[in-house]
């Protein structure tokens, strides 16, 4: 049984311009001890998918439905208070984008890491601090950092602090939203090594959100490609990177400037659609080089078994 199963997840926002279909029927499974990279451009619904899984909703929600199961239990049936106490931090924790800049400047980082334990588990302060110290050690921070203030730490160390915070309650699943986008390549490489090691040693399962396909290949057992609120392709990294089936994934991969080959990167013509009025049929059809009649009228379902894609080209007999 997968540790996390997301089925037909919808999250729409109400805005003055109309309803923004940020997450529009997303489904995927996350297996124990595995990792998924959710990849897409800005505005494709990656972060909204994470918010929907963790039920962190803004006030202007127009539609929020679907199934989010952890170990077979549907979280969508929980009351808000139950969700807060039973799910957040305990079952699923999240490292938010830019979280390292949201550390409280006046509080020692050790205490900030210990706080979820005191709030969610009613742990005594000493016990919580000891656990925090252990968590911080597990992410490779030296012991003395517990007593430091955020301004005394480098960017890479602060990022390790927020990862420690996400791990301190020993959740089953961690969602990491662009955990390295503000860091230098060398620091980023160190964080990648850390995440790989945590997965190996502790069997951590995680969802890793990024816009960087190269980076996603560092961590992903599975790759989900998001476009205009939909998960247009989902498959094992071993298939998606060498042989992507969706034209958008193909285009996205060929737009990555390669460091180790002279193949020139190719740009994708056009811009991502407005999510208040996404194109009819396949949402990628206005930018797709292989578009044909059916794409403009009918929305494609998933085709393919192991690597599945929303594309009419893959329909039997197409």
């Amino acid at each position: 049984m997968p540790i996390l199963s997301v089925r037909d997840l919808f999250l729409h926002y109400r805005t003055r311009k109309g309803v923004v279909r940020a997450v529009d029927g997303v489904s995927f499974n996350l297996e124990h001890g595995q990792s998924i990279a959710l990849v897409g451009e800005s505005g494709s619904g990656k972060t909204s998918t994470a918010s929907a899984i963790l039920r962190m909703l803004p006030r202007n929600v127009a539609k929020y439905e679907g199934v989010v199961e952890v170990d077979g239990k549907n979280l969508m049936e929980l009351e808000n208070e139950e969700f807060r106490t039973q799910v957040r931090w305990r079952l699923i924790s999240m490292v938010f984008q830019g979280a390292m800049n949201a550390l409280s400047p006046m509080i020692r980082v050790g205490y900030q890491v210990a706080e979820p334990l005191m709030i969610h588990m009613d742990a005594a302060k000493d016990e919580a601090l000891a656990k925090a110290e252990a968590a911080m050690e597990s992410v490779g921070l030296p012991r003395y950092t517990v007593n430091r203030f955020p301004h005394e730490l480098s960017g890479g160390m602060k990022q390790r602090v927020v990862i420690a915070m996400a791990l301190v309650m020993r959740p089953s699943i961690v969602i990491l939203d662009e955990p390295t986008s503000a860091l230098d390549v060398m620091t980023q490489a160190n964080i990648m090594n850390l995440l790989k090691q945590l997965k190996e040693d502790e069997g951590l399962s995680y969802i890793f959100i990024t816009h960087d396909l190269g980076l996603s290949s560092e961590l992903a057992d599975w790759v989900g490609i998001m476009y205009a609120g939909q998960l247009v392709e989902f498959g094992p990294a071993d298939i998606v990177f060498p042989k992507p089936s969706h034209p958008y994934t193909q285009k996205l991969l060929s737009s990555v400037p390669r460091l180790r080959s002279d193949t020139r990167p190719d740009s994708i013509p056009g811009t991502p659609p407005d999510l208040t009025a996404p194109p009819k049929g396949c949402r990628f059809h206005p930018r797709c080089p292989f578009v044909f009649d059916r794409c403009t009228t009918e929305e494609p379902p998933y085709f393919g078994v192991n690597d599945r894609s929303m594309c009419w080209l893959l329909a039997p007999g197409a």
């Binding site: 390549v185 160190n190 190269g214 980076l215 990294a237 998606v240 990177f241 990167p265 190719d266 994708i268």
Partner: protein, 344 residues
Amino acid sequence: MQATGQTPIEPVPEAGPGGSENPILVLDHLQTHFRVRTKLFSPTVGVRAVDDVSMVLGKAETIAVVGESGCGKTTLGRTSIRLIQPTGGRILFDGQDITNEKMKNLMWLRRKSQIVPQDPYASVNPAFTVFKILEEPLIVHHIGDAAERSERVRKALTSVKLIPPEIFEPKFAHMLSGGQRQRVAVARAMILSPELIVADEPVSMLDASVRVSILELLRNIQEQERVAFLYITHDLATARHFANRVCVMYAGKIAELGPVAGVLNEPLHPYTQALMAAIPDPDPANRLRKIAALPGEPPNLVDPPSGCRFHPRCPIARAGLCDVEVPALRELRPQHFVACHLAT
């Protein structure tokens, strides 16, 4: 054109295609040190942001200056066109020594050199229309009358593929996408027909699909208008596809400088090697490897390490040599210079 010819310009590498006889920019042992206070009322200390950097940029050539944040790459870019006053060394722009020239005598330089900044959201005036953003440099430099100016604005917009120009001219920056805004910034840099553009991370804020189109645009402009680029970036991969030569900087100094293919196919400096190892190409095998990442952080430039500044993090550093002697840039392959005692 001969440089004003006092001190000889040495181990400055020859420029790339067509540049060696007629470089647009010569940096000769350039130094930019800042005075900063670490605490209120504490005495100031020197930050050696750019320390003894020499290079020659040929006309219509692109050099990518690559390094991590704090390595001095932005300071180098800004100093080379006198947006920052250097504290030592010389800058020759098109053969003229501009190192200590008074600002009021540098109006010609402001026309011949331009900058494309990093953040397309912050770098354009939100109260100006696209037309006004592009017309302003022409007014400042007293170029043409109103009719000529609007003609040039139209041409500039067309050249950055904001077509048809009439649609974009009345728009404000907030009505444009990130990519379109960066195109406006490129058009603004191009409108005075400069000979050198300092592009400081022009695509790092943009999405993957847009990034390539902006780099393509810059490359086309470079080929058609024969502009030289100092392309400042942390991204070696884009440097590979946009630049003629790569200059890898570490802690205010050049670590390695050479033709793109030479440096990236055979990186000679251990720092360049580590940098390349840290950048993944999309490949499913990546998740099974451990990246050979460097430990530690880049050094503090107030008090940089002795000898080679990279030695505390270097996997091959040799005690008694690397921590004592500052390595000179040596030409180990044709046109390929490395500042490392141990590289061969």
